[in-house]
Symmetry: C2
Subunit: 331 residues, 2 copies
DNA sequence: CTGTCGTATGATATCTATATAATAAATGAG
DNA sequence: CTCATTTATTATATAGATATCATACGACAG
């Protein structure tokens, strides 16, 4: 049997209420009593039972984190941002992978609510009405990280994907490219649609036509980037530049080009997205859109703490700054 | 106020005990009663409170996972293996980063035990006596994943790092290399010492001398691999091959070599370690030692479930197979 | 010296389940 | 049809903390 608050109380000759006060740093305890209790705690090796505490106080100091895939370099970085801030505010995180499967996502939300988490950070792809209903009926706050709710109903932290894509493409147009391919992510998410819109808007503004043959729908993997390039280069209107929706796919594009004898950036310019650590691990190093993943994680967790503490929040849909960094895969 | 088991009992005109039985799938419930209860649960939207359940049953179906850095591609893959098996066995995981800081590690263990986790998967570097003491006095089982306890006291899942390094070096010697550099990880962990021993044993067996100038101590980052190569190539006895303790550093070595005008593998052969996804994302693709990270995670979690269920375990220190995969960074 | 107020402490209800023992109902044997 | 057994159900203790309200104790004002 474990040592409980009651054992400490007996050992120190006080009531459990007093022990509780000492443990929780309540100031209304005589220093002498405090010492007595502290000694008892020490000598018995007492460690408060967080489960009992959670039941009595209705706070678990635990937050749920739902993530598509922790083994993805992108989400892992986000998760680290979340966890660091959680630790800073004395929360622990329960982390689960959803694989962006809607049923899993909804199920995980319920499991976590059952575990009485004090809040949830959600990362996913497609936010449906069912998701929103679930979030709104949840008894605790929910924050979306790097995840777009088209209705802007749920608090979230993102960058402006449309604008970011627009800027990247505009830069490629400035460089003189007249035919620009796009290796996209799966088009069932609002985030990817925003990138698509930015791509199209930039082309239009630059007086270029949108050619559906120059758009390849990848799945974020290196291999799909490689495949994407192969596909694009077969088109009549061969692209002289490719905008890619993630760095990992962009590496695939770079190597796909090199494997076919193209020189990057001389024959083909490539711009990635995210600025994961990968971007500097290729030759040539990758020009990419900086998406501050760690910060998005950190800011969403911080935002969540505000909701959990019932602090006032002036803007519940945070947009963090992005930036295009030009390395050696562009001219 | 939330709906509790008591509300359901009243609604269904049964006792809370019966509701509890239905919820937990106890067969001793009349089908008619079961239906009545299920309807009440449905109509009230009852969701069992896992915290109360945890307090009463002393089981939380939650396990703690202590990991050096979730944003590392290596550990992220391990974590995914852990989480998948945890999910399979209906456990959730509380995940925390330790940065391999001993105080943080010990503190996290205590926090998690306070939260009444049913078990712990621990990943770290240096396992000290303090760690072992902590693990042994813990009221729940602990399993080490990809982490070596020199005393073999604590259950663990690893590969044989010494043998793996030995084989990699032996292969390089077979290829005719007489001067082989080693870019190591930090040498304060048993794992890295094992790699070092394998390196030395292979050299000795091959009749080559161990030259401390050909050993560079990196820190697992790409940059340190790059630096490592620069350093090694300045030595009198220039290496014609480099064995690197991680893939990320190996990429650094490959690019370091290329940046200095060396051809890989013609001038310099490079062998990495781990076989992370990075290995196929470089040109040339990286020859490396396959360490099955996902499997190590999965097997350690599976091992932990056995301990938690008090099943018998025949071998508590599991060694998984490794293999050298030769790609294009070696001849 | 009494009454009041703030600080320190205690007693007890409460949180929401499970576990256990007691009881009631149903089933089967003789 | 009765009694023994098995199955179904209830009542209640319990897990280990916090929250709330009550009480005791000094200090100090009047």
């Amino acid at each position: 049997m474990n040592v409980t608050i009651y054992d400490v109380a007996r050992e120190a000759n006080v009531s459990m209420a007093t022990v509780s006060r000492v443990v929780n740093g309540n100031p209304n305890v005589k220093p002498a009593t405090r010492t007595k209790v502290l000694n008892a705690i020490e000598s018995l090796g007492y460690r408060p039972n967080a489960v009992a505490r959670g039941l009595a106080s209705k706070k678990t100091t635990t937050v749920g984190v739902i993530i598509p895939d922790i083994s993805s370099i992108f989400f892992a970085e986000l998760a680290r941002g979340i966890e660091d801030i959680a630790t800073m505010y004395k929360y622990n995180i329960i982390l689960s992978n959803s694989d962006q499967n809607k049923n899993k996502e909804l199920h995980l939300i319920n499991t976590m609510l059952g575990k009485q988490v004090d809040g949830i950070v959600f990362m996913g792809g497609d936010i449906t009405e069912d998701h929103i209903k679930e979030f709104q009926s949840a008894p605790v706050p929910v924050v979306l990280a790097a995840t777009i709710d088209p209705t802007n109903t749920v608090p979230s932290v993102n960058i402006n994907y449309e604008q970011a894509a627009f800027e990247a493409i505009s830069r490629l147009i400035e460089n003189g490219n007249r035919s620009i391919g796009f290796v996209s992510g799966p088009l069932d998410t609002a985030m990817n649609n925003q990138k698509m819109e930015g791509y199209k808007r930039a082309l239009q503004k630059g007086g270029l036509e949108v050619d559906e043959d120059l758009i390849f729908r990848g799945d974020y993997t290196y291999q799909s980037g490689h495949d994407g390039f192969t596909k694009l280069i077969e088109q009549d209107k061969q692209p002289s530049a490719v905008f890619v929706a993630s760095d990992e796919m962009a590496l695939g594009v770079v190597h796909g080009a090199q494997d076919k004898g193209f020189k990057v950036p001389d024959d083909i310019e490539v711009v990635g997205f995210d600025n994961t650590r990968l971007a500097t691990m290729v030759r040539p190093t990758l020009s990419t859109v900086i998406q501050p993943m760690y910060d998005i994680g950190a800011v969403s967790m911080r935002l969540l703490t505000k909701f959990m503490n019932e602090e006032t929040v002036d803007e519940q849909n945070v947009i963090l700054p992005h930036r295009l960094i030009e390395r050696n895969s562009t001219k």
